[in-house]
């Protein structure tokens, strides 16, 4: 545009043809996520569990903690889904005019997976960054996967999961009549995913009690009751050898029942784990292995194609 010295009026009315579409910024479909995953290494974190166990609240709490710079050792490097996060955080903000915070239930017209995106950087060295895609899948899909290995195989994103986070609803664990059903449902879901070969040793498993504030004695400042060692032992015995790693955590992403617990209790530790570890990394081998074999053809083969083991 030619610039007259001093002032020049811009066209007052911009027609629709003058407008460039920008990314919508909502949750990403597989197609939407492809440009990100093909441009930069991405890490898929699958957050699994039945309806209303706290999956979306966990993911939005990560974003909320970054809004207040409350994740030690890591800083926010960007997001392709800012409106998606904001829409999901809305009902827990004062802007909603609610008095009790809530998280909108995940509901889509189809059963396709959606993702929310965050770039997480090392606070000490910002060039060390990981683009994380969090799944946004309705609990009903995981309930169906628990009940059917065939359906489990339809959730093709599971194959790419580097971290599989299975949530146990602490509110239900606190009720003696519902506790064992919660534990069994989580175990059946894992069993189904493993037996259908959708998860395996290429996945790190996080077994997480969500809403752990329900497991605290009411009105006290005590720490939540430690994860039951019997249950932990059981999960390890059932699944420890079938996944890359198994860890146990307790979180209270939005601890309304216990003022002693801060918002996002336990979440920062999970973020640190997701951002700093992946089952896909192999240790860098810097030392040359001695070339075995006597014949030149054997040595040639090993130099260029590795061992034949």
């Amino acid at each position: 545009m030619a610039v007259d010295q001093q002032s020049d009026a811009l066209p007052v009315a911009e027609t629709e043809s003058d407008l460039i579409d920008l990314p919508a910024g909502g949750e990403l479909s597989d197609n939407d996520a492809r440009p990100i995953s093909s441009a930069v290494p991405t890490r898929l974190v699958v957050v699994a569990g039945p309806a209303e166990c706290g999956k979306t609240t966990l993911v939005t709490s990560v974003f909320e903690l970054f809004q207040w710079a409350q994740i030690p050792h890591h800083i926010f490097g960007g997001s392709a889904t800012l409106p998606g996060f904001e829409r999901r955080c809305h009902e827990a903000r004062i802007a909603s005019a609610r008095v009790i915070p809530e998280t909108q239930r995940t509901r889509y017209e189809d059963e396709d997976v959606r993702y929310l995106h965050l770039r997480i950087c090392d606070a000490a060295n910002v060039s060390v960054a990981v683009d994380v895609l969090f799944t946004d899948v309705s609990g009903e899909n995981f309930e169906r996967a628990r009940d059917s290995t065939d359906y489990c195989r339809e959730l093709t994103f599971l194959h790419r999961a580097e971290h599989f986070v299975v949530l146990l609803d602490g509110e239900k664990l606190a009720e003696a009549t519902r506790r064992w059903g919660v534990i069994q449902d989580a175990q059946l879901l894992l069993q189904s995913c493993l037996d259908s070969d959708m998860l395996g040793t290429g996945t790190f498993l996080d077994v997480v009690i969500a809403k752990c504030d329900f497991l605290m004695p009411t009105g006290t400042a005590a720490d939540p009751i430690p994860f039951d060692t019997k249950i932990e032992t059981e999960f390890r015995a059932m699944f420890g050898a079938r996944v890359g790693r198994i860890e146990f955590s307790q979180i209270a992403a939005r601890p309304l029942r216990s003022p002693a617990l801060p918002f996002g209790y336990g979440v920062a530790d999970l973020v640190h784990r997701w951002a700093t570890s992946t089952p896909r990394q192999k240790p860098l081998q810097l030392e040359r292995r001695p070339i075995e074999g006597v014949r030149e053809s054997e040595r040639f083969y090993r130099r260029h194609f590795g061992t034949t083991e």
Partner: protein, 294 residues
């Protein structure tokens, strides 16, 4: 072909962020000779009616009219650098805050802006600290809400008012999103539409600095404390944005009768305050522009 002696700088900010007030004060400063400035007007050329009108309002200690979408203009100043004599034409499109807000709300950008972005080497990003919307959660104000709820419950008992409304949500509106989220998105749009890989020079201008100076924070500390998401984004993306943070008071104070009386007795240039680690002259609004042009 780009004129090497012409520098395009953008003025970016949401509505009422202080962009036009800054321009009005700047126009006065580059003309006056009472106070030293790093950049001075080299010569007038063509019409300067728009700038003169803005500057007159500023001199009279009246609010500079806000730029609305119908009054956007491109402003160009031929400036010489006092230390070196180098002459540059600095071009600022004075876009309305609504045009930036609409990038976030409507997810569209005008081709005009994209073209301006392509020719720009940097931008002044304005933030009005008095209008920042924070991402305040319900749990952060729970005790106050509990009090209000108790009062409403009492009122409901007296007047048989339906209490079910307490937990109905107002719908989400993108324009009410936290300010830091909107600004991060603007930066992401700018980064995505640029073809150059040279870091985009970004002078973050915290305007109305007189209103927050009493907090005792430097501009950088203020940004980190009050808009941590934006601070983190700029820190993490130094390769895309070469940024420095200034506090600026272009008005010199809030225009009430007493303040106007006080300001009108000052040399106009002395009303201006510029604060920051990169500042050498606290009354020189041209320093951020000089930094952008390096």
């Amino acid at each position: 072909m780009t004129n090497p002696k012409q520098r395009h700088c953008l003025l970016v900010g949401l509505p009422a962020a202080g962009k036009t007030t800054f321009l009005a004060a700047l126009w006065h400063l580059v003309h006056q000779i009472r106070m030293p400035c790093a950049l001075k007007i080299d010569r007038l050329k063509g019409s300067s009616r728009y700038l003169n009108e803005m500057s007159n309002a500023w001199l009279n200690c009246t609010a500079v009219p806000r730029t609305n979408p119908g009054s956007e203009a491109i402003v160009a100043m031929e400036l010489s650098e006092s230390a070196t004599g180098r002459v540059m034409t600095v071009v600022f499109p004075d876009l309305s805050g609504e045009s930036f807000e609409s990038q976030w709300t409507t997810r569209t950008m005008t081709q005009t802006f994209e073209k301006q972005l392509g020719g720009a080497t940097g931008a002044l990003f304005f933030i009005n600290p008095t209008t920042v919307v924070e991402p305040t959660r319900i749990d952060q104000v729970a005790p106050a809400i509990a009090e209000v709820e108790a009062l409403l419950a009492d009122a409901a008992q007296d007047h048989s008012t339906d209490q079910h409304d307490l937990n109905e949500s107002l719908p989400w509106k993108p324009e009410e999103a936290p300010t830091q989220v909107q600004l991060v998105e603007l930066l992401q749009f700018i980064d995505s539409r640029r073809s150059s890989r040279v870091p985009f020079r970004s002078a973050v201008m915290i305007s109305a600095w007189d209103r927050v100076a009493l907090e005792g924070l430097t501009p950088a500390h203020w940004l980190r404390a009050r808009m941590p998401l934006l601070w983190q984004y700029l820190t993490a993306n130094e390769r895309a944005f070469d940024s420095v943070i200034f506090g600026v008071s272009a008005q010199g104070g809030e225009y009430d009768a007493a303040v106007r009386e006080q300001l009108s007795r000052m040399t106009p240039g002395e009303r201006v305050q510029l604060v920051g680690s990169a500042v050498s002259n606290s009354h020189d609004l041209t320093e951020p522009i000089q930094w952008l042009m390096r």
